[in-house]
Structures are given as structure tokens and as C-alpha cells.
Symmetry: C2
Subunit: 383 residues, 2 copies
């Protein structure tokens, strides 16, 4: 490690991307664990589950029938957090001045989708090879294009991409122009996921969400302070040189544990070139991304020989953005996994973490070393 | 509700205290839950557990024996996240300029304590009456005084308080002046708590933690923009008038679900007068605080007739602070409880929440109404 002292002392690290600190207590990993144990996840699922509302041909909560899809399938979430239509809200009509100042609210509309990753009920990203992951990236890209503001400089690129079109004609353009599209996946019951059928979600909103607001502030600030250079480009270059936090890299992507990781085995996948959004990737580059995702998720499962729970999501240019925001955007993926020491012992971000500051025990360098070491075939396949 | 439309539409609310947004989706509470169920907590604990390292007279991890304490007992955490002594770290000696800019770290030292709330293994704050909770507040106050910077304007107040002294002579003054003391409690296995014996923690650090930094920024900004008035004082006055988010109030404290609550039944206890820290409370006021804590925790348990899990913590003036910070400080307590619909169904802040923006289903007003309605005797005592 380039600063070995950080393996031994308590310290804070600064998250350049969101402008916040995390407390690192390397020595604390030794404490005995008497608390909650997660139940190891079931690994013997059928390929098709007649009870699953995401399997091909099955019926969903409100009576619609899924088609016999072959790769991915997208539908509007039956329990969307935001909707396209709702009564209008006029916060400016508040009578009371003090209330108007202290009780601030604004309406949010948008559209939420569910996207299945495969017709097979028992697969996860970790089980899939890059060729099987590629169609998921294609679908994400298609949906992103479909929601892009026509006035965005990215919109034209979308039209030119040679990408297999969405094999669904039931998806219609949104009724309004939304600001941001958050593509994400919750995996495992520990991460609030209620169905093991491989799937992700996409929430599209009129507002730029909080985390993105923080990131764009830092990204724009860095550009201003450093003659137009890109924070994540500089960062990824440094990481490729230092190597100690690298988990995997290929031509276009670096995957590693960020210097300021909060979760024990947190990983970021960052583009090595300045790519603003999914539409900036050509065929080959989307394949590289599929490979990076395959490498990270397989290593996760190999680490504790379990179905490794996580939340992951893509950060990229807003759908409707200023050109300053589009220039500052730099495509990356965050993986936030809770497990700490085994398939059953997780890290809790509670108490001190909620009230004061996120805290981690093992260092990011130690985490990266372990993830680097567990590449190779998926453990389940060797059994 | 003063703006009934907010019961029906998706909207965001602005957290004035930390300067961030939360997404509210009131209609979403109706979705069926097929995910993880929490295991209901055991309620039949013995009054003394020979295996418990917090019970009076028992032996701890590293061989020390607990005294036969009668009220509270404080000891230095055997697995402290920060320590008083460690090797010195000199970030300024980094050779590489880019690394110095992108990989920012700083050392943190400090002292971590555990504080038992009662000799009885089977009690929780919810089981205790205000008279039983008062000694806990006394101990918090004593520890706060013990760590206050001698140059703080609060230090003198500490000397004048008529408060029962810490009935322990083994606790020594810290070896350095620390910046902030975070007093908190994790309750329940869901909140990472590994021992049901009622206890809290106290982490004292050289740094002002992230959450406090955010709060102080907003508190100071509000004072500047509004002729020296206090954000939380104005806020609590409004809440006492509007009443719809109030859970309980007495002469000195308002307890309620903040307008911008993230967790389903999140509660804040806020002082109705400008009190900067524990040392600002006299005997009567500490009793009022004990009553507010008793009312909140008992209602929590009554709500789903279970041992309601939460993390809670005190926010107050830093130990070592500028006078601007001390003036801006306003004593309050946050309760962050995860349960949503029953003793076994929690809200997950995952996926969208981690990557984009915290999200809640029921409105704060609905949550407050339910907590208001479940006062009275503790459900367990009626069984
Ligand atoms: O110190 P404990 O009770 O062992 O541990 C618990 O509280 C700490 C402080 O909130 C957290 O850092 C840990 O993740 C949690 O498990
Ligand atoms: O939408 P789902 O899978 O039912 O629900 C899950 O993911 C959502 C988005 O991260 C969260 O808001 C929920 O708390 C979680 O349980």
C-alpha cells in the first residue's frame, strides 16, 4: 500500500465525487460478532417458476400477461413511486409566510419501469457471460434514448447508434420530458428485493435526484478549478497507475474499490475515456461494459461463495440537461454491497453512521485485494 | 392536513436541517410485500443474564469485571472505532501532486464509550419511566462536561449544574481535546445491535462528523439570512401551531415527525427554547427530556406491539467550537426507525435511495397521527 500507515490508524477519507467524508477504522474488523446473521440465500431455484410475476408467460399483479420474451422484458412498474399524471400542486399558493419558508415541497412526476434481465428465473448477472449481459445494456440504452430530450446534444447520437431495437412495441414515449433516469438493481432480500428473478428498475423523474445533484456540484467544481479536466478521468488514471484498489480492468473500464468507499466491498466501474452516457458507447464498448459487470458480479459471488447482495446503479448525463452538465457527466456505475465478513455477517450503517458519519472497518485496499484474488469461474459452477 | 393534496401526489420535501431532499410517494404504501420479513424480537429475557457482558458483576471481552452498578455504568469500548493514541499521519508529505489532490485522508483520534442504561438485562427505554431515564441523561451530561473544552463558554455552566456526579472514579479525562461527542443508541438486531441489554454508545472524535457539518452549515446560514433567528426554534414554533406532525409535547420539548422525515416513523425531539447542549438544562428540564424520551419510545413499542428497532442520537454543541457554532447549536434528538407496516415489514433505503434520493411511502402526517394515537400504557404491561 502506498501509505501503509492507513492500514493501522483511524482516519477519514474524502469522497471527491459527493463531497463528503467517511471514517475508516481498520483495526476494528477484529471485534467478535454476536449480532444478526443474514440467512444464506437459496441457490436452487427452478428455471421457470409458475408463481413468479416476472417469468415469461406468467400473469402480473394487475392481470397483465408477460410475453414469452427471450432476452429482456420491460414494463411500467405496477407500484410506481412516481406517476405520469397527478393533480397539480402549487406550493407558491401557501398563505403562511413562515410555513412557506420552513415547509418546502415540490411535486414530482415521472415513470418507473421494471426490466427483467433474462427469461430464466434462476440466473443472476453473476451467472451470465458478457454476451448474455449485452442485451441488458442494449435495453438500458434504448430506454435512455427514448427518454432523452430532443434538444439534448446526445439525442442525435442516439439516432445513429447501431443497436438492436427494443423488441417491444407496447412501450410508448413518456407523456412529458423528464429530467433524470436512474437505472438500478436491488439484489437479494437483504437489499429489499422481493423477487429473485433477475431484474432491475428504472425510475425517471422531473427532478434531478439528491445524489446526482451532489455529484454534479463536485464534477462541475473540479472542472472549473482544474482547467476543464474531468475529476473521474483524472481519478481513474491515477487508480490505473496505483493499482492497489483495482479489481479488474479492460480497454475501456476500470473496476475497483474507490478510495472513499463506504460499504466494505463497494465497487465503482468507471469509463477510462470521457463518456457522458450510454449513448456514447459503440458496440465494442458496450461489450467491454458487459465484461466489467460480469467480472464484478462474479467476483462478488465468489468472495463468500454466496449470492452476494447489493444495490447497483448507473450515473450518467441527465435526460434534460444544461450543456455544462452534459460536459461534466462521466459515465460510472456504483455497487453498494452490505456484506462484511461472510455470507451471513453484514456491515450495518446505523447509529453513528446515520447520526454522524459513515464508517468502515477494512480498508478499501484490503477489500480490492480480496476481490482481485477471487476471479475465475463462478464457484457454483465448480461444485 | 393543511395541504391535503400532499396525501395523494408524489412530491419531494426539503430537509432544512441538512439541506437535502426526500421523495414522498404516499400512494405506494398499498403495494403487496413479498420480501424479507424481520423476525419478531424476543420479549422474554431474564433480569440478569450470566452470559451478558453488560450485566452487573459479569466479565467483559478482555477480562475486566463490571461493578455491581445500580443505575448506569460507563466503560471505554473494547472495540473502539477511534483510539486516543496512534501513530501520527502526515498527509502533507504525499509526494505525488495528483494523488494529494485526489486521495485525501486525515487522521482521526478520539474515545469511544459504552453506557449501560440499567442494571436490568430485560429493560428498554420503553419499559422505563422518566425517573428511571433521568440518570441516563445525568450520565450523558456528566460525560459531556468532562470532555468540554475548558475554553468553551459552556464549560462554566457545567461546573454550576447541580447534577449527581458520575458514580465511577475509573473514568479519566481524555488525553486530548476532542471536537465532537456523538451520543447514540442502536436498538434491536435490525439496527446492528448485538446485545439486548439496554445500552448506548458515545463516540468522541477530533473531527466534526459529516452530518453535524451539514447541520451546522444550514443552522448558520439560516441565522445569517433571518436576522439571527434560529431555524429549529422557528420550526418548532410552527409545528406546535400546526400540530399535525406532533406526537407529544411538554413544557420544554416538542416530539414529532419532521416534515422532511426519511424513515417511516422518524421522530425528532426538539427543545422549545434555545438550548445549545445538555449543560443548558436544569433539573426540571432534564426531567422533561426524560419524559419526552419515555413517550416516544413507549409509543414506538405500542405501534406494532413489538420491541421497535431504531437508532437514536443527540445533536448539540461541539465540545470544542467557535462561538458562532455554539450560538447556532440547538439541542435535538433524532430517532431513525426502519419498520414500515408491522413488526416484521421494514422500509429498505436501498437501490433508488442509495443511488438517487431517499424515498418514503406514508406521509409524515400519517405517521404522526398513528404515533399520537398509541400513547398510554406499554402494551406488554397490559398483557
Ligand atoms: O458497536 P457495535 O454495537 O458492535 O456495532 C454497531 O454500532 C456501530 C455504531 O453505530 C456500527 O458501526 C456497527 O456497524 C454496528 O453493528
Ligand atoms: O420496488 P421494490 O423492489 O418493491 O422495492 C425495493 O426497491 C425500492 C427502490 O430502491 C425501494 O424503495 C424499496 O424500499 C425496496 O423494498
Amino acid at each position: 500500500m502506498s501509505e501503509p500507515i492507513l492500514n493501522d490508524i483511524s482516519h477519514r477519507r474524502f469522497n471527491l465525487l459527493r463531497g463528503s467524508w467517511v471514517l475508516v477504522s481498520p483495526h476494528r474488523n477484529k471485534r467478535p460478532w454476536q449480532g444478526l446473521q443474514e440467512s444464506p440465500s437459496k441457490t436452487t431455484l427452478p428455471e421457470h417458476d409458475p408463481e413468479c410475476y416476472l417469468c415469461p408467460g406468467n400473469t402480473r399483479a394487475q392481470g397483465q400477461q408477460n410475453p414469452k420474451f427471450e432476452k429482456t422484458f420491460v414494463f411500467v412498474n405496477d407500484f410506481s413511486a412516481v406517476k405520469e399524471d397527478q393533480e397539480e400542486y402549487h406550493p407558491e399558493r401557501k398563505q403562511d409566510n413562515v410555513a412557506a419558508r420552513l415547509l418546502r415541497a415540490e411535486a414530482v412526476t415521472g415513470k418507473c419501469y421494471v426490466i427483467t434481465f433474462s427469461p430464466s428465473h434462476h440466473l443472476t448477472l453473476a451467472d451470465m457471460n458478457p454476451a448474455q449481459i449485452a442485451p441488458i445494456i442494449d435495453t438500458w440504452t434504448n430506454l435512455y434514448i427514448m427518454h432523452l430530450s430532443p434538444s439534448s446534444p446526445l439525442a442525435e447520437l442516439g439516432n445513429k447508434l447501431s443497436i438492436p431495437p427494443l423488441a417491444q412495441d407496447d412501450l410508448t414515449k413518456p407523456s412529458a420530458q423528464y429530467r433524470y433516469m436512474q437505472i438500478f438493481e436491488n439484489k437479494g432480500t437483504t437489499m429489499g428485493c422481493s423477487n429473485p428473478h433477475p431484474h432491475g428498475q428504472i425510475w425517471t423523474t422531473t427532478s434531478l435526484p439528491e445524489e446526482l445533484t451532489l455529484e454534479f456540484e463536485q464534477l462541475k467544481k473540479y472542472r472549473k478549478e482544474h482547467q476543464g479536466s474531468h475529476l473521474l478521468l483524472d481519478y481513474v488514471e491515477l487508480e490505473c497507475r496505483e493499482k492497489e484498489r483495482t479489481v479488474f480492468e479492460n480497454d475501456l473500464f476500470w473496476a475497483g474499490v474507490p478510495y472513499w468507499a463506504v460499504w466494505p466491498f463497494e465497487v465503482m466501474i468507471i469509463s477510462k475515456q470521457h463518456k457522458r452516457a450510454l449513448v456514447d458507447f459503440d458496440d465494442e464498448e458496450r461489450k467491454s461494459l458487459a465484461q466489467a459487470i460480469a467480472e464484478v458480479t462474479r467476483r462478488y459471488d465468489n468472495l463468500f461463495e454466496t449470492q452476494f447482495p447489493y444495490s447497483m446503479g448507473l450515473h450518467q448525463a441527465p435526460l434534460d440537461a444544461t450543456s455544462e452538465e452534459i460536459d461534466a457527466s462521466h459515465f460510472h456505475i456504483h455497487f453498494y454491497p452490505p456484506l462484511l465478513r461472510s455470507a451471513t455477517v453484514r456491515k450495518f450503517q446505523v447509529g453513528y453512521e446515520m447520526l454522524a458519519e459513515p464508517q468502515r472497518d477494512i480498508t478499501p485496499e484490503q477489500a480490492a485485494e480480496r476481490l482481485r484474488a477471487c476471479g475465475g469461474e463462478l464457484y457454483r459452477r465448480k461444485m
